[in-house]
């Protein structure tokens, strides 16, 4: 999963600034696991 993150599918410096960011991060993690 982490290798996929490092491959640039998400900015490794992606910062949780707003509740919407949490939703995006959650969706990304779910997609990474499937």
């Amino acid at each position: 999963m982490f290798q996929a993150l490092e491959a640039g599918k998400i900015d490794p410096f992606f910062k949780i600034n707003r509740p919407d960011d949490l939703d995006a991060a959650e969706a990304f993690l779910q997609a990474s696991l499937t």
Binding site: E6, D11, P12, F13, I16, N17, R18, A25
Partner: protein
Amino acid sequence: MDPKLASGRSSRIGGCDRCLLPLAGKPLLAHVIERLKPQVSELIVNANGDPARFSGFGLPVVSDRLGDHAGPLAGIQSGLEWTRANRPKCRYVTTAASDTPFLPADLVSRCRAAIDEDNPQLVVARTEEGRHPTFGLWPVSLASHLAESIEPAIARSATGFEAVVPKR
């Protein structure tokens, strides 16, 4: 390899600690710890207020020494100061924001390589989007200089280091 500590900052969102918000069933801070722990010898958390809210992580919690909630650079200075006082053999501190759950798994090695290659005063992360000054490798020897040089307006910005780090 020199020992390193990682200092993660905690900020607030919507009246609560951002780094304690849940992501995939665990706090953001737990994700950050998971990514940093293999990279460093020890971790500390920089946060202000009641440290008990971080007790579940089993890490030292260091508050800002230059005034409560003084800003990112003050947090970095606090991490350096704590390290100098408590881990005298440690030469560098890696810093990372505690609300960035996907931070690079090779952050420390990249920073260290930059130090070894060009011997800069310090290293901060940079991507195509720009610099990320809360992610960096800071020499502990800068602790005193930062304490003497940081003014409140500078401390609120992580990029304030440009104004206070001595030029070689």
